[in-house]
Subunit: 211 residues, 2 copies
Amino acid sequence: MNSEIKKRVLIVEDDKEIRNSFMVIVNSSSQFSVVNGYSSCEEAIKHLNTDKPDIVLMDIELPGGMNGIKGAKVIKDKWPVADVIMVTVYEDSEMVFEALKAGASGYITKSANYRELLAALEEISKGGAPMSSKIARLVIDNFHVNPNSPLTKRETEILQLIAEGKTYTQISEQLFISKETSKTHIKNIYAKLQVKCKSEAIAKANLEKLI
Amino acid sequence: MNSEIKKRVLIVEDDKEIRNSFMVIVNSSSQFSVVNGYSSCEEAIKHLNTDKPDIVLMDIELPGGMNGIKGAKVIKDKWPVADVIMVTVYEDSEMVFEALKAGASGYITKSANYRELLAALEEISKGGAPMSSKIARLVIDNFHVNPNSPLTKRETEILQLIAEGKTYTQISEQLFISKETSKTHIKNIYAKLQVKCKSEAIAKANLEKLI
DNA sequence: GGTGGTTCCCTCGGATTGGGGTATTCATTT
DNA sequence: AAATGAATACCCCAATCCGAGGGAACCACC
């Protein structure tokens, strides 16, 4: 394959050994080539316009001012065409979701061998989202709504409308019921969720995936 | 491998040919065996307690009263230990998310050959979430927040609090600003999003992934 | 016949909301 | 030096929304 059309890979990783190891692996491929490697996000961000990466391998646990999450956000902001793959030692649930929100499209561990690393690059190149089984399941499970909701169908329906910020009046209009009925339902929701205002109800509903 | 510890696979698929083909493939594996195959969710649900499936292969486009989405919901409700894999011809975005919300843990196409089908079963057995590259990316992209938000940092922060149902007063207390300042920010948010109440703001924010 | 879900009604006062202005400070940009 | 954008703060005002307290009817499913 001609080097002109090789995908440009940028590596941000503070551990020099890992960084070099990743560089060697990536450069060994006919499809990818490393355009640069940095030990901090700040440096990487400075040279985005000249590095022009297609793919960024971003360490999450970075020393100094900017961690990988924030780094991914800035990079996606300044150079949106790049696909970001997070590289981490932990598969911590909270961190995964923060990284995804920040714009990451893949998630691999530092223990990845050359096969896994190249597979991830290939996967993201063809429009996929490389990640481990565990993380895939984590992400998918995050969509599941709680099947053990204490709320009735109608109450859930109304809770959804509350989540959209609808007022009593709007809810009653939308569901073709009286305003008083909406209020009754909401009172029952409050009792079941043990909350005392819309705010708390929505917060609790999101927490327990009731909607 | 002893048949006693084979994973019990249930197939719900109205097309007899596909159903039989899937049955043969699954039974050819040493790890899995088909406990039953039905052409409708209703039938499958009736026999859940005797079929005791570990994995359910569920067709989405099912004729009659109950489609696969609703079917998955009921099955996860009545037999929660089962992992549900949706089987479909389309990779329609809306349908994917509905299926995931309903409790599905995997998503494969009907065009899957025996390798792909068995790979999906193995993947879900080891706690993963089998899906195509395209769907993985769809799901991951769904987490990304819009980097082109018209809102400032502070406004986004306040919008998040509104989404939690907080009132002006609560917001001002939490951010250590005056109540009037919260109002000013919210007025600006309304102007930028072209909405005129909290409800619409939240709905629009969710739609455009502003938070 | 009971239970649970959904519907409807009443009263009440205090808090919240949204719309209209204006203004200061600070940092960045031009 | 001027301008812009962001964040902060204050004023007035009317509408309504909210949460809490009751009671009650209808229907479907056990």
